[in-house]
């Protein structure tokens, strides 16, 4: 009756297996299997017509890394992720600090934070595209009315700035998301810490560095991780906003994969690109997870 190596009752051990079993099957079918299948596909040539699968080794990887579009998309994605990560996090922290203050209408302002999070990614893309539109866009309209521009500006046509502009919809969403988490974290800071800091004569900046920042560090790392991953994985907003253009200026890895797999119907090469993206995400994800563990153990 009594314990086994896990120190739990035999009946509990049996219960634990019954409880976890459906999930194990589902994870096997819907997570592990597709993951391994993708790896296998990336090493194969798949004929969509006949359904024939032939092993070709690393050939898909060779051809995607030879393709300028794909190698460029990796560079573009890293740059894009950097924009999303840095701007979202900075804005997120600023918003959280702002909304942590006392003011009239605080409930309303905090409620606004959840709005970008609730809007589907693809809709965020539509909204921004409509706002940035060169003929009817509201941003052009506003800047024109304020006398800042003389004529409407095609924000999404200039190759030099388009990647940065295309990152803004993701920043818009992630800044709010970051602010929600950071705000929840700094609300738990005991006021006594600030009181004693004030007695010691620490100004607001010092208080931020020595109290707020260390307190929210674990949350900040999680926020950084999510912002990085959403940058790397981004498809929806870009697909709606620019479809990867002009030229290939905003062709992120995800867009590149979609085109290879579902426009050129080269599923094997698509799978290879998908795997490269997975490895990139895995690398950064694990990096942040380790960082988090380090900070939490201090």
């Amino acid at each position: 009756m009594i314990s086994n190596k896990y120190g739990i009752l035999k009946s509990d051990y049996r219960a634990s297996i019954y409880f976890i079993l459906p999930a194990v099957i589902a994870i096997g079918l819907f997570l592990v299997y597709p993951f391994l299948y993708t790896l296998f596909l990336s090493l194969s040539k798949y004929n969509l017509m006949t359904g024939k699968l032939s092993f070709i080794g690393l050939q898909n990887y060779v051809s995607i890394f030879k393709s300028k579009v794909v190698t460029k998309s990796i560079v573009i994605t890293i740059l894009f992720a950097f924009y999303v990560l840095s701007l979202s996090t900075v804005f997120g922290v600023l918003f959280a600090l702002l909304l942590n203050r006392d003011f009239i209408g605080r409930g309303f302002a905090r409620a606004l934070l959840i709005v970008p999070w609730a809007i589907p990614w693809v809709v965020i893309g539509i909204m921004w595209r409509w706002m940035l539109n060169a003929q009817f866009g509201s941003l052009n309209g506003l800047l024109y009315q304020l006398g800042i521009i003389k004529e409407y500006y095609p924000f999404l046509a200039n190759e030099k700035i388009v990647l940065f502009v295309a990152a803004l919809p993701a920043v818009w969403r992630q800044a709010s998301f970051s602010a929600i988490l950071v705000l929840a974290s700094i609300q738990t800071i005991p006021q006594a810490l600030y009181e004693s800091a004030k007695i010691d004569g620490a100004n607001i900046f010092r208080q931020f560095i020595s109290i707020t920042l260390p307190w929210m560090m674990p949350t900040l790392i999680v926020v950084l991780m999510f912002n990085t991953l959403y940058g790397f994985m981004q498809f929806d907003t870009i697909f709606m906003l620019t479809k990867g253009g002009p030229g290939n200026a905003t062709e992120l890895i995800a867009i590149s994969m979609y085109r290879r797999a579902f426009e050129s119907l080269k599923l094997g090469e698509g799978a290879a690109i998908g795997y490269v993206l997975s490895l990139l995400c895995l690398f950064f994800g694990l990096l942040f997870t380790r960082l988090l563990r380090k900070v939490e153990s201090v």
């Binding site: 409509w130 818009w172 994985m233």
Partner: protein
């Protein structure tokens, strides 16, 4: 002197707040305004921030497929749109409900097991879930595409119901585990001593305490399904609402005002739910993010 400094501080605070409100509202306000406009007003320079001749025709055309006065705003293809958007709306609701319900049961049981029993299998499941939260679902769409083609599931609700498990299940288990971690084990141990089985203890003692968690997780997974775009694009032909929105582009001329109305229809449900359920969602987000 100090009073003056305080006033200046207040002024800066409210300026910053105004900028914040502007940043949140400005991107979506134009879609909302446009959805009440006729096509000839869209291109007005300077823009009409309030439509001079507001109309509900765009909503009528996306929801009912009917509209009057074709010549003035020519909602091309509106009848077809009207049919697709309603059926997609229904599909979106059904798919979200089915996926969330299945996952909350499977995920709930698994999360409880992981939270209470540190067996090897449970640890394995938990690590695979952490890993999958890092991996991009986009990168794993191709196997689903190939297998569903063989199984003739492409362009059926089943394709999405099955494939959405890929990201909904990890989300559910992850969040519910952190809720169960916060339910003290003494409660159910007392029940076990009284002779209840584990399953009954979970059902009668633990779940009632963790109800807020279940609500949060259910809403969040509903919203993820509702918003999902990539799988719906690849595995179906406009089965749910998000890919339907893209469909407006394929028409000869984008009717921005009609598209705006469809966009508003897609956005209103999740935003309203999020605002009403704000507190649950925020605890859900923080539970999932802060506790690793």
């Amino acid at each position: 002197m100090i009073a003056k400094q305080k006033i200046v501080g207040r002024v800066f605070l409210y300026i910053a707040l105004a900028l914040f409100v502007f940043w949140i509202i400005f991107p979506f306000i134009w879609v909302v305004i446009s959805s009440f406009m006729r096509v000839d007003e869209l291109g007005a320079v300077p823009p009409h921030w309030i439509p001079h001749r507001p109309t509900l025709d765009n909503f009528r055309s996306v929801l009912l497929g009917v509209y009057g006065g074709a010549s003035t705003h020519g909602t091309y293809g509106a009848v077809v749109r009207g049919e697709t958007i309603i059926s997609s709306l229904i599909n979106s609701i059904i798919i979200s409900l089915v996926v969330s319900s299945i996952n909350i049961i499977i995920g709930g049981l698994a999360a409880y097991s992981i939270s209470r029993f540190k067996t090897k299998m449970n640890k394995g499941v938990f690590y695979s879930i952490i890993t999958s939260r890092i991996l991009p679902p986009i990168g794993m769409v191709i196997p689903f595409f190939i297998i569903f083609r063989i199984m003739k599931l492409i362009n059926t609700p089943g394709a999405l119901i099955l494939s959405y498990n890929l990201f909904i299940l990890p989300l559910t288990i992850w969040l519910l585990k952190s809720y169960f971690d916060n339910v003290p084990a003494d409660l159910e141990e007392m029940a076990l001593v009284e002779g209840l089985s584990r399953f009954k203890a979970l059902l009668l003692i633990v779940i009632p305490v963790a109800i807020p968690g279940f609500i949060a997780v259910f809403i969040m997974s509903m919203m993820e399904c509702w918003s999902e775009f990539f799988f719906a694009l690849v595995l179906t032909d406009q089965m749910t609402l998000p890919p339907v929105l893209i469909g407006f582009e394929k028409m000869e001329q984008i009717q921005w005002n009609v598209m705006a109305a469809a966009t508003v229809v897609c956005v209103v449900p999740p935003v309203v739910v999020a605002l009403i359920m704000q507190r649950y969602i925020v605890t859900g987000l923080t539970a999932g993010a802060v506790k690793g």
